[in-house]
Amino acid sequence: MDNNKKQEILVESPEKNLELTNLSIGYATGRKNVTVLSSVNASLYKGELVSMLGPNGAGKSTLIKTITGILPPLFGDIKISGRSLNSISAKDLAAKISIVLTDRVEADMLTAETLVSFGRYSYVGWTGRLNQEDYKVIEEAIEITGIQKLRKNFVSRLSDGEKQKVMIARAVAQQTPIMILDEPTAFLDLPNKIMIMRLLKRLARDFSKTILISTHDLELALQTVDKAWLISADKRFFEGTLQELAVNGSIQKAFPQVEFDQNSGKFIFSV
């Protein structure tokens, strides 16, 4: 018992919020397991904005579903704040990871404010009654994401960019150390894409959140994120800072249209 406890403490690093060890992901079709990606080793630290890059069908969504507990891993281990994912109850996990998905929310007569308040679900009792603390957290989430003017609007009437901000506010209200967003900038125009990326960057830097996003917007991601997870077309997984990935040629391998200019330290897109 004591030994186990010591081990827990040793494994647990205060900075490391997520750790994937020798992880294989995929899904079951009938009796067969289809492996999408194997030997994934990666970590996410406090205050990091990390982008998951890779071509369509590389397994980005499957990896997100596995980390958030929607799909079980085929092999290997996922640790959230030092605890194994399968030992964490649904309620505790809700206090660790919040998500923003590409699913469209089209509920009738649902105001932005009410939607954000749903983020408090796992903190309130069965009646769903919010207390002072909950209202304070909701207020902060609305302020941080800058949706004060939208709060009374119906979600179904918001633009795509506004909707995305409201969904992020809901995730903020859930008060989790880790936020995972699936394609947060898809379907948005360029100013909105930039606005969302800046918001995420600020959440990671100023509020010490660990943020993982999957994205197709390579150019934007390369300009914003600290670190990247890269899945190549031949299903290989790389993790590193952009510098590291550029220097060892992984980015160029996954995205042939990108060149890294050693002199300026910038990425160049060949058209």
Binding site: L101, S122, T127
Partner: protein, 340 residues
């Protein structure tokens, strides 16, 4: 809308329910003076025994049935619309009512051949309710099973309509093989009525609806989060499978029990939740569920009063009235949700 406004709305709705309930007891094909009605309900001696019987044994159970049926169908519709995330979901559209009809038709066939009159009396009640409930739940479970395979809600809705058509076809076949007497009973049942329910049956309907309604109220918090879809709900700590099962049991109990006693009642379950959402301007089930219950009671009582055709001694089938009110609401929903 502020909390004060909600309180005002709730108070007004509850007041209207009480008012319409009293009107529903007062109005009928036999004109009974209101002072006699007052005498009957304050337990004072009444000379005309027929009037007393009409009031106590016909109008009162009918008004109670209308009230509970309205509550049950509307809350059932609200839960289905949230669970399937589809504005057009409801007990009627998803084929739950048809499934219940199938169950009742099967009981009818068995009673035709076995010689037992299953469609009358308290034993009949339990048989009919059981059959209607089983039929309704069967269709609901089928829809639920399909919904785990197919994510597209429109497809599920069309499948629900197809299940409905399919069960209707089987009902047609069963009708063909049953005798004229039982067939007439079934057809009258299928036209819908709050008036065929006697006290013994009210004593079965009211507890079932009450229990299912309590489950629905307790589920308000889960229903809220399910508005965002199952993945989000799961990420916020909802046990989605358990919640879905509870919602299905509650909505199935509500829809199937009412259908068993009153026959298929169209449109209430579909239309009332939309009216309530628009009137209360909210998607929060902690307000929607009780408000839908009140408005469901209000509209069912109103439809029952209209069906009496006050001033005449004719009555309309309740389905005709609910459809005349409900169909325009559905058209309004479709136009409102149109994407440009």
């Amino acid at each position: 809308m502020s909390n004060l406004n909600y309180k005002y709305y709730f108070f007004l709705s509850a007041f209207l329910v009480v008012l319409l309930f009293m009107l529903d007891v007062l109005i009928g094909s036999v004109a009974i003076p209101w002072n006699v009605t007052m005498d009957v309900f304050t337990c004072r001696p009444v000379e005309n025994v027929t009037w007393k019987t009409i009031l106590i044994d016909f109008r009162l159970p009918k008004a109670i049935t209308a009230l509970f049926a309205g509550v049950a169908l509307s809350v059932s519709g609200l839960q289905m619309q949230t669970l399937f995330r589809n504005p057009l979901a409801g007990p009627y559209v998803l084929g739950v009512t048809s499934g219940a009809s199938l169950g009742v038709a099967l009981v009818l066939l068995v009673s035709s051949y076995s010689g037992y009159a299953l469609l009358s009396g308290i034993t009949g009640s339990i048989g009919v309710v059981g059959a209607a409930f089983a039929g309704g739940m069967l269709v609901l479970l089928l829809i639920l099973w399909v919904s785990t395979k197919i994510q597209n809600n429109t497809t599920i809705l069309i499948l629900g309509l197809m299940f409905g058509q399919f069960t209707n076809a089987i009902v047609g076949v069963l009708q063909y093989f049953s005798n004229a007497q039982d067939l007439k009973g079934f057809i009258i049942w299928s036209m819908g009525s709050f008036g065929n329910v006697v006290w013994d049956e009210v004593a079965v309907l009211v507890p079932i609806v009450t229990i299912a309604l309590i489950i629905a109220f307790v589920l308000s918090k889960q229903l809220n989060v399910l508005l965002l879809g199952e993945s989000y709900a799961k990420s916020m700590g909802v046990n989605v499978a358990a919640s879905r099962l509870k919602i299905i049991v509650s909505t199935g109990l509500l829809a199937a029990s009412v259908t068993a006693f009153c026959g298929p009642i169209a449109f209430l379950g579909l239309a009332i939740p939309h009216l309530v959402r628009s009137a209360f301007n909210t998607a929060d089930h902690r307000i929607l569920t009780p408000a839908t219950a009140l408005w469901g009671a209000m509209f069912a009582l109103l439809c029952d009063i209209v069906a009496q055709l006050p001033g005449t001694d004719e009555t309309l089938p309740i389905n005709a009235v609910t459809s005349i009110i409900g169909a325009p609401v559905v058209i309004w929903i479709i136009i409102k949700n149109r994407k440009y």
